[in-house]
């Protein structure tokens, strides 16, 4: 069995990839995927600790996060389709009318 630090390092790497993805991508789909990556990095840490400490709390949280992520993906993708219908683009930088 791998030690806790190994899981944390993997999760950290995944989270940083996800964060960088959110910050640099212009494509909304990829942005969503990056967010999923960050959520799953968090899930990985939860599961690792849950196993190590022999507590089921971490599992419960992970299921909650997965449910929320699924719901978010459904709503988010629906919004992306609507945005595309209206503006014929999914470049996030084009949706900037909410400003001063």
């Amino acid at each position: 069995m791998l030690s806790i630090p190994a899981y944390i390092i993997v999760a950290l790497v995944l989270f940083c990839i996800g964060t960088i993805g959110v910050l640099i991508t212009r494509n909304i789909i990829i942005l969503f995927m990056s967010i999923e990556l960050m959520l799953n990095a968090a899930n990985l840490v939860l599961i690792a600790f849950s196993r190590a400490l022999n507590l089921m709390d971490g599992h419960a949280f992970v299921f909650l996060v997965l449910t929320v992520a699924a719901a978010e993906a459904a709503v988010g993708l629906a919004m992306v389709i609507t945005l595309y219908r209206n503006r014929e683009t999914i470049n996030i930088d084009r949706f900037n009318i909410l400003k001063w």
Binding site: T19, V22, L23, I24, R26, I92, D93, F95, N96, I97, L98, K99, W100
Partner: protein, 644 residues
């Protein structure tokens, strides 16, 4: 009967309510009936109350009626309470009586006016306020009446408010009166501070124990109250509003600016005679101001061409006589002259109104002349009033004016200088009044043909009041015959005596009076002689040979110019008081308000707006930049918790 005292002021108030609330909904005959009947009924009740009072023993003549407590505040109580004593009895008879006659006259005079109802509404309100003023049993209620008449005066002077001069005159009257009212209020405060009550009887009873006779405080109180009187009664230095007040309808001038309201100051001084008797210095000031105003206004009256302005200056001058009387301690003489003046001056104004009515609203006497044959009733009644005001023996003005002159000579507060100035003023009065009569009724007509064709005697509703007042102008004086006339009884003095009992010692000294009968008759003869000479000169200059008047005017052109311009008093006030005030207000407006206050507020708002202008550029609307800030924030917070 005494329980109906409150009806005297209340009836005109009801008339005011009916006419005011149903303004424009009542036909004219109903409006005039309500207005006249309410004042007439009030006169009838006043008359009945007068006889009630007369039936009582002399030193118990007092009817009081407290309606309710108006302001109960700690130790301070102000009641709505009326008090009828010999003094207020005379006043309510004059106010409601002359007021009633003038109401009747107004029905004819205002016949053509589109605002008929509004006029009578104001007139009734005025009568109510004036009756409240003279019946009030405390200073505060009197002040309510005092301000009420001031308000009505303002409304009625500016009755034809479409005319700018009328609106301005109304404002002028109101503002000038404010200055006097300020003094009145301060005087009232001092009385309350020292005595703890504003009730007339309490104040008069307590004053000798509280104030030191001749002390600074009582003198200050009297002078402050007198300041109020100079405002309301148009004395130097606050007389400037009264001549301008002639912009109002003529019956208003007769009622408010001749017979009743302007005499409120005299009434107030007589009402508080106990206080004045304790302050000889204040009395001297009152007498000096009175005689100075009498003389000064009479000289201005010499050269006015507007018929109503002559009468206005004459009123100021006659009010000066009344103050002279009060100042020398002859309060009875002051009130006596107030009464006779109410008769003959109201008559003169109503006569002038009749002339103006007949002359198609022309007021300049230079365009009149020869009206005697067109309007005989107006002529004869006005002549009677003129004889009365000039002090021709047998007419009411003679008795009252002569009593004042005699008292100003013989009283312990009097001085021969007062008498000399008073007699000269009497001569001037006779001159300008006969100038008016000669210019208006004699000689040949100087009006244009259109006006001449229209000339007519006034309708019955106007001539009957003239005749009534003419009768009063003659017989009014016989209630106060001087003792020297075959030991006649001066009923008026006896009637007024209880009111003046507070200053008893002094009034006894007056009654016995210094000087002997021979001196009194001699001085009387001198004044009558001077008056007759003045009348002859007026006849000579304005009837027989008008060219002499012209040459005289040219010879004295410097003086004439000064008098025509009323000694530039309005201009002096304008330069020394009004204009600096205007500049100060401009400074407050343009500098303090616009620059300082607005500058601070707008500057603050501007600063916020500028700062937020810079800050809002950070709201780019780009999701990625928001996310970057968000991540940086999270990193900083996390770092803080981990390493901080």
């Amino acid at each position: 009967m005494s329980e109906y005292l409150f009806l005297v002021p209340l009836l005109p108030f009801i008339g005011f309510l009916i006419n005011g609330l149903l303004l424009g909904r009542l036909p004219r005959p109903v409006v005039s009936f309500i207005a006249c009947a309410s004042v007439g009924l009030s006169f009838v009740i006043a008359l009945l109350l007068f006889f009630d009072l007369k039936a009582m023993p002399a030193d118990m003549r007092l009817i009081e009626q407290t309606l309710f407590t108006w302001i109960p505040a700690g130790s301070f109580h102000a009641n709505i309470a009326y008090m009828l004593d010999p003094l207020s009895a005379v006043m309510i008879l004059v106010v409601s009586g002359v007021g009633f006659v003038i109401h009747i006259y107004s029905v004819g005079y205002m016949h053509h006016d589109p605002c008929f109802g509004r006029y009578f509404t104001y007139m009734n309100l005025f009568t109510f306020a004036m009756l409240t003023l003279v019946l009030a049993d405390n200073f505060l209620l009197m002040f309510v009446g005092w301000e009420g008449v001031g308000l009505c005066s303002y409304l009625l002077i500016g009755f034809w408010y479409e005319k700018k001069s009328a609106a301005d005159a109304g404002k002028k009257a109101f503002i000038v009166n404010r200055i006097g009212d300020f003094g009145f209020l301060i005087g009232m405060f001092i009385i309350f501070w020292q005595i703890g009550s504003l009730d007339f009887q309490t104040v008069m009873a307590e004053a000798p124990h509280v104030f030191i006779a001749g002390g600074g405080l009582i003198t200050a109180v009297c002078l402050l109250l007198f300041m109020g009187a100079t405002g309301k009664s148009a004395q130097i230095p606050l007389f400037v509003w009264l001549p301008d007040a002639m912009e109002g309808p003529t019956p208003v001038s007769a009622l408010i600016h001749a017979a009743t309201m302007v005499t409120a100051g005299v009434y107030m001084i007589v009402r508080t005679n106990v206080l004045y008797m304790m302050a000889p210095d204040a009395m001297l000031v009152v007498a000096i101001i009175g005689v100075a105003t009498a003389f000064f206004a009479a000289t201005i009256g010499l050269a006015q061409n507007d018929i109503k302005r002559v009468l206005a200056y004459s009123t100021v001058s006659q009010l000066g006589y009344m103050f002279l009387a009060c100042g020398v301690g002859a309060f009875t003489a002051g009130i006596f002259h107030l009464m006779t003046h109410a008769f003959f001056k109201a008559l003169l104004f109503l006569g002038a109104g009749s002339v103006i009515h007949g002359m198609s609203n022309e007021q300049d006497m230079r365009y009149m002349g020869g009206l005697k044959k067109y309007m005989p009733i107006t002529f004869w009644t006005m002549l009677i009033a003129t004889l009365a005001i000039s002090g021709i023996p047998g007419f009411s003005g003679f008795f009252s004016k002569d009593e004042i002159l005699w008292k100003s000579f013989s009283s312990q507060f009097g001085h021969p200088v007062f008498w000399v100035l008073g007699v000269i003023t009497a001569g001037l009065t006779a001159f300008y009044m006969f100038r008016l009569i000669n210019m208006t009724f004699f000689g040949k007509g100087r009006m244009d043909d259109k006006t001449r064709k229209h000339l007519h005697e006034a309708p019955r509703s106007m001539t009957v009041p003239l005749i009534v007042l003419a009768v009063l102008s003659v017989v009014g004086g016989y209630v106060g015959l001087p003792h020297v006339f075959f030991g006649a009884t001066n009923y008026f003095e006896h009637w007024m005596a209880p009111v003046l009992s507070g200053g008893q010692a002094a009034s006894h000294a007056l009654a016995s009076g210094g000087g002997d009968t021979g001196t009194e008759l001699g001085l009387m003869a001198a004044s009558v002689l001077l008056v007759l000479i003045a009348i002859y000169f007026a006849y000579l200059l304005y009837n027989k040979s008008p060219e002499r008047a012209t040459s005289l005017r040219e010879k004295l052109s410097g003086m004439h110019k000064m008098i025509v311009n009323k000694y530039y008093v309005d201009e002096i006030y304008g330069a020394t008081i009004v204009r600096p005030l205007v500049y100060f207000s401009l400074f407050l407006w343009k500098v303090v308000d616009v620059v300082v206050i607005d500058g601070f507020i707008n500057g603050l708002a501007g600063a916020y707006s500028d700062v937020s202008g810079y800050l809002r550029t950070s709201q780019t609307g780009r999701v990625r930049s928001y996310a970057t800030v968000f991540v940086v924030g999270v990193v900083i917070v996390t770092a803080y918790f981990l390493f901080g």
